[in-house]
């Protein structure tokens, strides 16, 4: 039972309707309907292979990069289509940024990593503008104080947690509305994870955030809404508090209490 209407605000940021995704002949997602609210953190949880990353990657069309992957259904960002063939993917990805499972800074300096997007899109006409964007983004990602003296050093020389925050800074440097995070802490130690979680909490005042996570405590800590997926279907979507204390579906209950997954 998916209770969509009860959660629907007048203005959902992202809307998914009847979204199905196929890898070749194999169907990975089945008719998913979901509304993502603005300036909230929505967590996708579920066992490995349930399709939560696949679903996440539908929002910024990253599945386009996979040769035999195709999808049906409709997806809207602020009411306008993002799934159709005529959508400008470049514009879309500027508005919906992404942070990946493994920190993936480019083999460039810290500065060039953050400046990558703004340079691509011609967002900073002068060097001064670019400096400002880089500094603001690094500040917002909570890493400025740690790297301000070494922005010329390679991004790959930072620690894992710093690299991930650098990637967050890189994503927000193009001023997106939405941040997609695909298990952003799975390659990090507990301290770095705590730092990223705090950061996510701060960022939600400005960005709509969707986070895929294997870690149920993390979902409970950082998110306001939680979607539970299993075997390519959306099982339950509700307030995080309700999912973790009083889920409607027995399989959600089983997953949360660790009986499978």
């Amino acid at each position: 039972m998916v209770n969509v209407s009860a959660l629907s605000d007048p203005q959902p940021k992202l809307v998914a309707r009847a979204v199905s995704v196929y890898y070749g002949g194999k169907q990975a997602l089945f008719d998913i309907d979901l509304d993502i609210m603005s300036r909230e953190v929505t967590a996708f949880i579920g066992p490995s292979g349930c399709g939560k990353s696949t679903f996440l990657r539908c929002f910024n069309r990253m599945n386009d990069l996979i040769d035999d992957c195709r999808s049906t259904g409709s997806m809207l960002l602020d009411g306008s289509d993002i799934a159709g063939p005529d959508v400008d993917v470049v514009q879309l990805r500027m508005r919906i940024g992404m942070v990946f499972q493994k920190p993936n800074p480019f083999p460039k300096s810290v500065y060039d990593n953050v400046a990558y997007g703004p340079r691509l899109h011609g967002m900073a006409p002068t060097r001064g503008d670019l400096d400002e964007i880089v500094e603001t983004s690094l500040r917002r990602a909570g890493i400025w104080d740690e790297v301000k003296d070494r922005v010329d050093q390679p991004g790959t020389s930072l620690s894992g947690g710093q690299q991930q925050r650098l990637c967050i800074a890189r994503a927000i440097a193009v001023r997106p509305d939405v941040l997609l995070m695909d298990e952003p802490c799975s390659a990090l130690d507990p301290i770095a994870t705590a730092t990223i979680e705090e950061l996510i909490d701060e960022l939600k005042s400005e960005y709509t955030i969707i986070i895929v996570t294997h870690n149920m405590q993390q979902a409970a800590r950082v998110s306001q809404k939680t979607a539970f997926l299993n075997l390519g279907r959306l099982i339950e979507f509700d307030e995080t508090q309700k999912i973790f204390t009083n889920p409607s579906e027995p399989s959600t209950q089983d997953y949360i209490t660790g009986r499978f997954g």
Partner: protein
């Protein structure tokens, strides 16, 4: 003849026997935790049986010819040098059944006798050493013997010797180049060689011949190599790199699986085939084209050779660059696409910088191949050592000159032949320097992912 290879057969048989005997011996010993598997003890026995005997066989075989020669020739104390060699060769021929006149039959019989004696002695000695080695190893096979470590060490030594052989060969080649080059520079001044603008290494066979003195200014030859290499890289660099980008970033895996091997076939075509294609098809049609355009293109031109060579070395650039670009992690591509970059922006700003070391490596390989190429240039660019930057004229290259200098009947101590060594050494130093510089550049400017 049989007697000369019989010792090797004996060694092999004994070695195999030693393996099973040693293994059986340790298996019969009271079992506890052994410092090695039974097989290690077997190999230990084999090593003692085989290695010393083989060394004795090799040493005897190397030495015995000289000893026999000295003994046979000691009957002729007044002969020396070439005369002695001549006599000894005819004695050997007579012994082998080729009858020649004026051969002292006593010496022939002595030679045959000594050869039989040597073979028999070698057989006895090798067998004895093998048997002794076997018993030496046999006595040491006890549970205390650290057979695993010993066998591993023996393996290590064998591998080390193998690697040393390759290095020593290189050193030997370089040394022979250096010695001959030194001798060349005693005849021709280095100044003339390195700065002289005229190359015509014709040495007169008779005093009264024209062009009696050769000119050994190597500048035109090296300029020719440079010109042809530059033309070849102008062809292979862009085409190779662009096809690598297409294969690595755009092509569907099935398309790539077809195109990549097809491209690599280019490197497998014999260069002489490229050569006659250049000489018989490309060069004449370029000359005709030149006529139409009002240009003078000689029928043997640097352009024809360079173009064909460029086609030949495309795979060196494309294949290596493609491998390197494919190895750039997908996560970097996704990071770039996720920020709204297009495919070409991702290639330009992320993939190529990350793949630069490998791409430069591919270019270096292609350049070395172009510099070392001989056959195409002989057939398509000619032999005339013109000092020119005009690609429509005939030029010659270092390798072509080396080949022509050493082909045919020459004395090996004339300037002409020794000039080949000087050219070879210079070429070697130039390519080595190129490689070192490229390696440095790559290390300094590469963007390293992980």
């Amino acid at each position: 003849m049989l007697l000369s290879y019989l010792p090797l057969l004996i060694i092999a048989l004994f070695g195999a026997g030693a393996f099973y005997a040693s293994r059986a011996r340790i298996s019969a010993a009271p079992q506890r935790s052994l410092p090695g598997l039974p097989g290690h003890y077997g190999w230990y026995g084999t090593l003692w049986t085989v290695v010393p005997a083989t060394l004795v066989y090799a040493a005897w075989t190397i030495i015995d010819d000289r000893v026999i020669r000295n003994v046979v020739l000691s009957d002729f104390p007044d002969l020396s040098g070439a005369a002695a060699t001549l006599l000894y060769v005819s004695i050997e021929n007579a012994a082998a059944g080729v009858m020649t006149d004026d051969v002292p039959m006593a010496s022939v019989e002595l030679l045959l006798h000594l050869e039989n004696l040597s073979a028999a002695a070698r057989f006895a000695l090798v067998t004895a050493v093998s048997v002794l080695g076997f018993f030496w190893g046999w006595r040491r096979i006890r549970p205390e013997l650290t057979a695993r470590d010993r066998v591993e060490t023996a393996l290590l030594v064998a591998l080390f010797i193998a690697s040393i052989i390759a290095i020593l060969t290189t050193v030997g080649i370089v040394l022979s180049l250096v010695v001959e080059t030194f001798r060349f520079f005693q005849l021709v001044s280095p100044f003339e060689f390195f700065f002289g603008l005229e190359w015509s290494p014709q040495i007169a066979l008779r005093e009264d011949q024209v062009a009696a003195s050769g000119a050994f200014g190597a500048v035109p030859v090296f300029a020719g190599t440079l010109l042809i290499t530059v033309i070849a890289m102008l062809v292979a660099g862009p085409i190779g790199l662009m096809s690598a980008i297409y294969l690595a970033e755009y092509a569907h895996p099935r398309v790539r699986a077809v195109i990549k091997p097809l491209l690599e076939i280019l490197a497998g075509i014999p260069t002489v085939v490229y050569g006659f294609f250049a000489a018989l098809v490309l060069a004449p049609s370029m000359r005709n084209l030149g006529v139409d355009l009002g240009l003078t293109i000689s029928s043997e031109s640097a352009l024809a050779a360079g173009l064909i060579m460029g086609i030949m070395i495309i795979p060196f650039v494309s294949s290596l660059s493609d491998d390197i670009m494919t190895a750039v992690p997908m996560s970097l591509r996704e990071g770039s696409y996720g920020l709204g970059a297009t495919a070409s922006e991702t290639i330009k700003r992320v993939i190529l910088p990350a793949a630069t070391p490998g791409i430069v490596g591919g270019f270096m390989l292609a350049i070395s191949r172009a510099i070392g190429e001989t056959m195409i240039v002989v057939m398509a660019a000619g032999l005339a050592a013109n000092l020119t930057a005009n690609p429509f004229e005939a030029v010659t290259t270092v390798t072509v000159q080396i080949a022509t200098l050493l082909v045919g009947d020459h004395e090996f101590d004339s300037e002409k032949t020794m000039a080949a060594f000087a050219l070879g050494l210079t070429l070697f130093i130039v390519t080595l320097a190129l490689n070192v510089v490229a390696l440095r550049v790559v290390q300094k400017y590469s963007e390293r992912y992980e």
